[in-house]
């Protein structure tokens, strides 16, 4: 485990060069030390660079820590209301299909307050890319329980640990989306603990949208040492231990039942 952590840490240090699509005027960024958002957004930035789509991207971010990315990139962006990033991007994409629409949010925006939008964009097969950062809690508002909080995990609103009998089990976002998304959709779960794989998933998700195939969705397992109250070692331990054990990293097959163009 320690060896793996070191490899990841080294990777970050080696990649000190910012993606070209990052906006250097707004760096250093405003995320806490050890926060996973920076890594997820680096993967996104690298992919935009590789695809050469700086002038095609419309980036939307939610309320919560994700909003701190509102001026993070050199492409156009809009920061919306909590949970409403998906519909804003869907609306833009429907109006101008040539745009590459990216909706970036946390687990609250994706699975709680904005769940209806995620579910319906997936079933409609909206050609956008939704990226949900899962750090198992609501970080910006003070570490409350999120739909993704693990069983027995302590948060500010579950001081004795999340009790699944009272508040249910963690939401499995990609599994949910894979079960309902229409044919041609792309679904994956990556982690900031495996940068190359995360970048690959995000790249495939954007290509899937650009090829007009369907909805694309990537959940990113992310870190929040501030609210987890963990040091560097425990942070990575929690991510690569409990989180990755519960939330399986990899690509998911979209349900075969959701064929397009078939009459009922």
């Amino acid at each position: 485990m320690v060896e793996k952590n070191q490899r990841v840490s080294r990777g970050i240090i080696e990649n000190q060069n910012m993606p070209r699509s990052w906006r250097k005027e707004t760096k250093p960024h405003r995320f806490c030390p050890g926060c996973g958002h920076g890594i997820a957004l680096k993967a996104l930035g690298d992919v935009v660079d590789e695809l050469g789509i700086l002038d095609q991207v419309l980036y939307g971010c939610d309320i919560g820590c994700s909003l701190l990315s509102w001026d993070f990139f050199n492409f156009d962006s809009i920061q919306t209301h909590h949970g409403r990033t998906i519909p804003v991007i869907v609306g833009a994409k429907r109006a101008r299909p040539e745009i590459v629409g990216i909706a970036y949010m946390g687990d609250g925006g994706g699975y709680a307050i904005g769940a209806q939008h995620l579910v319906n964009a997936a079933t409609r097969g909206d050609r956008i890319t939704a990226i949900v950062a899962n750090n198992t809690l609501y970080a910006m508002t003070g570490g409350q329980m999120a739909p993704t909080t693990l069983p027995r995990q302590k948060t500010s609103t579950t001081p004795y640990g999340r009790d699944p009998l009272i508040t249910g089990s963690p939401t499995l976002g990609p599994e949910l989306v894979a079960a309902i998304a229409s044919e041609g959709s792309y679904v994956a779960r990556g982690t900031v603990g495996d940068y190359n794989k995360l970048k690959l998933f995000i790249k495939k998700a954007l290509l899937n949208q650009m090829e007009g195939k369907g909805f694309s969705f990537v959940e990113v397992l992310s870190t929040c040492p501030t609210n987890w109250r963990t040091g560097a070692k425990e942070t990575w331990g929690f991510l690569q231990g409990k989180m990755e054990n519960y939330f399986k990293v990899g690509e998911l097959q979209v349900s075969q039942g959701n064929r397009l163009g078939e009459e009922g």
């Binding site: 700086l54 002038d55 492409f75 156009d76 920061q79 209301h81 609306g91 209806q116 397009l260």
Partner: protein, 384 residues
């Protein structure tokens, strides 16, 4: 892959000409208000409607969904009104003329996106066909969404709201709403009601350009041409601010714009006796009943005027105040199908004047010309 349906193909090939001909020939039609709105949106060059069904506005979606493909315009039925509102703003953000229509509980859900539009100055047109309230109430009629539509949301109500009273006005105000929404970039509304939505009466449909009405084009706010950073600055929009002063500065700018817009857009209708003892103030369909009543009692020799605000936000307060302040004895009657929503605005606008203000308030209930007539006769009788 899904291919274009036969119906959409047919619409493009055969219906476009037919529809264009109706607009280009100033055709008088006999139709419902909901149908009028769809035609007006077409005439105003709206690009995309995002909507969620709720009575009594549903037929706006039916007609738009039928008309739009013939002109390459779009429609999306969303998962709820929250989504309808936000998808609309997404479309407006990238340069399309977008709109939605709703009522009652749907209007409540729509307020969230409207609040964001107000903060971020994203244009949009909302058609509100008022139904009974609070809650689900009736699917029929009311004027109870006046306050919600004019000043809903967690802000200052920087909105432009037209209250219409006939199909002709509905058609024309809808076109104006699209123009002014994209000109001033404040959330813009057409406040109708279930009666106007469902009733049939004649209306002359026309192509605004053939009457030399300017049609304001929608411009992209984000996703303009050019590579961001390399050829232009990237557009970064937000509605969250860190400090009070930062927000205050932005709002001060918006409020100044709103006051400027007011001078250019306020509309009202006034008439009746030259010199009057009584003034009826009513908006929308009740305004229409009031005008009928005033005409009848004028013929009976009563000295009565009417004042019908067409923009109910911003409100034509100066015009109203001018009429009232010129006649200190003038008694005022406010009539509305709500419990004092218009009345409170009238009182605010006339603050400090000593004129008596009477009211006829019927929340959620239609008001007939006969009812207003009866009150005018009673109030209008000179003592002794």
């Amino acid at each position: 892959m899904i291919t274009e349906s036969g119906g959409v193909k047919m619409a493009k090939e055969t219906l476009a000409g037919e529809y264009q001909e109706i607009l280009n020939n100033e055709k008088e039609m006999f139709m419902t208000g909901n149908e009028v709105v769809a035609w007006a949106a077409l005439a105003a060059e709206a690009d995309f409607m995002y909507g969620y069904p709720i009575t009594p506005q549903n037929e706006i979606m039916y007609y738009w969904a039928k008309l739009a493909p013939a002109f390459g315009r779009g429609f999306l039925q969303t998962e709820d009104e929250i989504s309808a509102g936000f998808t609309m703003l997404g479309g407006a953000l990238v340069g399309k003329k977008t709109f939605s229509a709703t009522a009652g509980p749907g209007n409540i859900l729509m307020q969230e996106s409207i609040s964001m539009a107000e903060m971020m100055r994203l244009p949009g047109v909302w058609i509100i066909q008022q139904r009974g309230g609070p809650s689900t109430a009736t699917v029929i009629y009311s004027q109870q969404e006046f306050r919600l539509t004019t000043t809903g949301g967690n802000g200052e109500g920087m909105r432009l709201v037209y209250s219409t009273s006939s199909h002709q006005e509905l058609f024309e105000s809808t076109i104006k709403a699209f123009n002014n929404a994209w000109k001033y970039r404040f959330p813009t509304f057409v406040l109708g009601d279930g009666y106007q939505a469902k009733m049939r009466e004649p209306v002359v449909l026309f192509n605004p350009k053939l009457r030399n009405w300017e049609i304001i084009a929608a411009e992209p706010i984000a996703m303009k041409s050019g590579v961001p950073y390399l050829e232009r600055d990237p557009v970064h929009l937000r509605n969250t601010f860190n400090i009070e002063e930062e927000l205050y500065d932005i709002l001060s700018g918006h409020l100044a714009d709103f006051r400027r817009m007011k001078q250019e857009v306020v509309e009202w209708d006034e008439g009746g006796s030259e010199k009057a003892d009584l003034l009826v103030v009513a908006h929308g369909i009740v305004g229409r009943a009031a005008i009928s009543a005033v005409k009848t009692v004028n013929n009976q020799g009563l000295r009565v005027k009417y004042f019908r605000p067409i923009t109910v936000r911003p409100f034509p307060g100066e015009a109203l105040r001018k009429i009232v302040s010129e006649e200190p004895e003038l008694k005022i009657l406010v009539a509305e199908s709500a419990y004092g929503q218009l009345l409170s605005v009238v009182k605010e606008e006339l603050y400090g004047l000593a004129n008596t203000i009477e009211s006829y308030l019927k929340p959620g209930l239609g008001i007939t010309a006969e009812e207003i007539e009866e009150i005018l006769v009673r109030l209008g009788k000179k003592e002794g």
